[in-house]
Symmetry: C2
Subunit: 240 residues, 2 copies
Amino acid sequence: MSVVSVDEEQFAGGNLVSTAIGAITQHIRANELGPGDRLPSEATLSKELSVSRSVVREAFRSLATMRLIDLNVGKRATVAQLDHGAMSLMIEHGVHTAQININQVYDVRRTIEMRTSTLAALRRTDAEARIILGHAKAMETNFDDADKVMESDLAFHLEIARASKNPIFSIIVGAFQGVSRQTWPIGWRSRASDAERHAMNRIHIELAEAILAGDPQAASQLMARHFDESAKALLAAGIA
Amino acid sequence: MSVVSVDEEQFAGGNLVSTAIGAITQHIRANELGPGDRLPSEATLSKELSVSRSVVREAFRSLATMRLIDLNVGKRATVAQLDHGAMSLMIEHGVHTAQININQVYDVRRTIEMRTSTLAALRRTDAEARIILGHAKAMETNFDDADKVMESDLAFHLEIARASKNPIFSIIVGAFQGVSRQTWPIGWRSRASDAERHAMNRIHIELAEAILAGDPQAASQLMARHFDESAKALLAAGIA
DNA sequence: TCAATTCAACCTGTCCGACAGGTTTTATCG
DNA sequence: CGATAAAACCTGTCGGACAGGTTGAATTGA
């Protein structure tokens, strides 16, 4: 069987690299490759498509940057596991080029995470529920180390997305971690008092308990409240 | 000023290309470049980073594939407008490698689009409302041409996302268009009768009217109903 | 016969040089 | 001063080269 599919022109954008990218993705689909499966070598594709190795390399590298494939020196390229790397870069690019603002990020996160909370409450395993609760408690335990609180917070939200059992939600939530790391300290500092900060931590714990208890409504509502209060804090800090 | 930032190692992954990608994105951020602004030439970056032009080219090409920059022969690379291209490739990759299934896509779309409906009802301009209604009516007008119905359907959903005035929603909705094009005909055929197909079109029109009327609750509920019925149709077709 | 070892073939990462066009800037000319 | 022509610049693609890392097959030894 040919390495490339019939309609390899699908991605053709005038340049050969786009064509090569199309050929590679078509190869993955035509042969029903899954994560870990090996792709043809650069030289093979180069001959197959009648283009130079440089072109194939740029195509491979592009797919690797988007995390669709894994590259390793000496080894052949392999199909990659889904990953939020590409989307993270995209979101951060949007924020840094002033095409996306923080409120818009918050709205998307709130929308998505109300759903992941609901699903997590319905689908979480006991182990996941314990991990989520663990992250929530860690925020309170490490109260004086803002960095640790932040990392637990991020892990908390990501673990809820995982427990939703929908990888797309995990990707989206993961994609916002980069920008969240940059705005989180602002939100933390903008809380008027330690009491407010403790209150925020308490919401996390209550949310974890709702998920543990399998109460989707409560989980969803707590997540909404969490985002509303965070937005309020950010607003108070002048981010709007 | 130096072309590259201090912490250009942020993206270093052992290979020079990752370093170059980091340097380029850092350059964009450090100089606060926006869409359309020009980037240094390959030769300049090559010298600046002390790597070969090939390395810089692979970095540029990767960023272009992710639609963070635009490449044009003869011209310098420019910062790109946000685009769902990268996310589309990612989603399609996930579906084709069996890491994502159609139900998961539907859940995400339902979650996101209930929100875009709400926001569109609140924020749409009159022109946008008219365009949305136009797409809905076009579905009924071209009832016998499934392809045209599909394209109007996709345009309808995307326009609602645009009217939400949050580019992230537009990106996400746009990212699902590729897979939607592949499953849409199945949903259309799986409707038991033309009456059901007309009913689906009617929901679209009612939704457009709710957005035109500025009724967020109604818009959101209609969108939810639309997705629930589509999922039901797909289920009937054995996609589950 | 079989397992361990060695080696040849293969593969990727990076570099260099070259040339065909397309684009921008500069200098020249009317 | 404005139009035009030339020079400088830039990207797309190609080919070749070499340093390592990886793999699988042949060889060797038990």
